[in-house]
Amino acid sequence: MSRFNDTLLLANVSRRGILKGMAAGSALLLAARWDLSWANEQAQFGAGAMPGGWVDDPNVFIHINTDGIVTFINNRAEMGQGIRTSLAMVAADELGADWEQVRAQQANADQEKYGNQNTDGSRSMRHWYDPIRRAAAAARMMLEQAAANQWGVPVHEVQAEVHKVVHPASGRELGFGELANAASEREVPNREALVLKPDSALRFIGKESGLINGDVKSAHPKAIDGEDIVTGKAVFGADVDLEGTLYAVIARPPVYGAKVKSVDDSDALNVTGVNRVLRIEGTDQPGAFNPLGGVAVVASNTWAAMEGRRALKIEWDLEAAGDNANYTTDAYRKALEEAAQSPGKVIRQSGDVDKALEEAATRVSATYYMPHMAQAPMEPPVAVVRITEGKAEAWAPIQNPRATREGIAAALGIDQENVTVHQTLLGGGFGRKSKPDFVTEAARVAQHFEGQPIKLQWSREDDIQHAYFHAVSVDHLDAGLDSGGNATSWRHRTLSPSITSLFAPDPEHKAEFELGMGFNTMPFNIPSIRLENPPAPAHVRIGWFRSVYNLPHAWAIQSFAHEMAVAAGKDHRDYVLELLGPDRQVHNLTVGDGWNYGEDPDLHPIDIARMRRVIERATDEAGWGRETSSGRGLGLAFHHSFVSYTAVVFDAEVSDEGEVTIHRADIAFDCGPQANPERIRSQMEGSVVMGIGVALQSEVTFKDGVAQQSNFDSYLIPRMPNAPKVLRVHLIDNPNDAMGGVGEPGFPPVAPALCNAIYAATGKRIRRLPVGNQLS
């Protein structure tokens, strides 16, 4: 609430007035947007506010060889979102490069040189689109200048075409490769002197290609890593192959905070191939990104290490874990549900909610539960570290190279200068690989093997039992409706352990950035609103999972809005459009959100018209209102997150045995300007499928502090039969708003949309996830 004050509000409103004026004249639009985002980058928002900030030096990102090969240096983690392809395409388009001659090379961890490298928050494209275009434009102008000099003509007479510079007056031309050396000696033009290509000259940016809802109308520019992936040549973390590698696994404490009391390693050391057994120190809570500690087994291959671990006899000191050793999710859920009955810390308030609830003609109340989940990227955590003469070198699939470097340096007590981190491809991340604990573990083992590479492999059991778990959550909502079914009041209490408990004594309340994920930014136009956050302590490591707290907030709010529509006897779509109210822009500060995903609320307010448009698009495409056979129904949900807008409609059928078949899913998405629509579609498809797992299957429970699931036979994620039979992605053409995120915002509304469809099909309301066998 501290940031919600009048002075700040006034200042922002008046500034926004100016900006709007600038954007209004359409001829000025491009220039105005350009200036705005640039200003934005220098302010306390966006890329400029990130550690390491942004860099737009062409010499950092674009290398042109004399043979014409253009190498784009990619500074963001590739984890399936396609950023190596999409950012390289942005560069190639602005530069004028022939896509066949473009390669990508992964930057090492070095934020001083490459700018921010922390790949999370769905930020890569929205923070790097402008700097990379500028870098490429500068490189193109350097090539043009080099050609003009060589020909002795004024630079305005020459122009870059695809992979060459031409002088139309004389018909001369020189290839990028032929100009590479001369161009590299040119000064980098000033930012003010840069001229970007007009939209009409672009070949890739914003262009649809590849598979679009079942059809291929035109080939897509080939994916940078596509060929390597289908031939088995792509190098993920575990595929790094260094001479003399030893393989390690670690037996970790079963409870967060427990320690090794004693270990008998005699049987382990008898396993063929086992070389050594080592104690790994854990750290005290809060554990941050530090190793959990335990016992490492080092062997000549991964399997021997795993067999050796199986043969260890370890006694754990559970007392060190304190309260965590009593953590049982069933009891915890009940405790939170009870706590949700009493008021909590007030986060946002307008009107007199209690009075309005009392006076309501109809009152709707519901409590929703979302369990812990593990990110479970298909590639479990793994890292290779080699330490030689006080210098460490690491190869790992990590989302956060900077934190990885810091973690290794701190663990070894050496300077960061002496730590080199190579980033491999990630076999999925979803937030798990933002935490480099597994790389630090490898460094702790490698300390004992001077000059020898240690490959530390997590098993799937390790991954699921020692995840940084998605926070468990209880959301309780009450709404009052008048006699016409219109909402007069909305009270929402959210209870969930905070990620900040990883880094500081447990605050037991959600932080501003956690509340800002769809809780206080709830967009409904209701006269009386009170949002509260009662306490919820953490007993395991809580961490980011794709879209983070948007998941429980969207699931509760979108389920509840449907319950209100049902209580009012109104069509769900009509009802939520009314709840949203008239088209308008809700400034984040007016709802107490001073975070806004790090973006300037003047450029990225909560835009009700954009929300409405995705709802209309998804429902229209899905044939909302059509008759379905019995046992089958349509369900809708929508959400605003990572400054983008998503709506989802499911057509689902539930059999008498409680089996869910998904006939169709329609997802409409608005992220403003689209850099690479082909990969945006693939992210939306993936979000729908993963979200189906959140709704139907995925749950980690704890008993006495121990995770009860361990592999894909007990921690269930979607398989091909769970996917929608028909999956349609509808991208909203909206090049004029500021660019939003893509990797995460498709995900939050999926689970509630499916649960709403299940209600439409069966009349059974799901209030506890996953659905599991609740329908049978």
Binding site: E78, M79, G80, Q81, G82, G210, L211, G214, V216, A219, H220, K222, A223, D225, G226, E227, I229, V230, T231, G232, K233, A234, F236, A238, T272, G273, S300, N301, T302, W303, M306, A376, P377, M378, E379, P380, L425, G427, G428, G429, F430, Q457, R460, E678, R679, S682, Q683, E685, G686, S687, V689, M690, F712, D713, I717, P718, R719, M720, P721, A723
Partner: protein, 153 residues
Amino acid sequence: MINLTINGQQHELDIPDNMPLLWAIRDVVGMKGTKFGCGIAQCGACTVHLNGVATRSCVTPVSAATGEITTIEGMADDPVGKKVQQAWLDLGVAQCGYCQGGQIMNATALLKRTPEPETQAIVDEMAGNLCRCGTYNRILAAIERVSTEEASS
């Protein structure tokens, strides 16, 4: 000594009989295309062909791996495997790509056995291959693309 024939090449390895084929391929032979995802035959990331049959190498002891082993690295030399790889590229199937070697191995084994499978048969056959990125709709479309080409050729 264990003898393995991988993509037509002989390997004589000094390893225990019960070592899973996956780790022999990855850590001992040093071929990295075959992936570890679960170790208990739940995900299919480790799928290879053993005498043409899609096999989970993580639960196959090397002693049982007698005959021809083909891995993802050998698929480009297989006429059906090559078409499958091309369909994967044309449709932009992969996201992170970690599961896709196993998906391609499983799909190729299916298409070699049944060149024009029914949709439901594909879904059933591919149910053992997990993709956390959620690329199932594109995987299905790519398999059907190869099967349609088969039908029209």
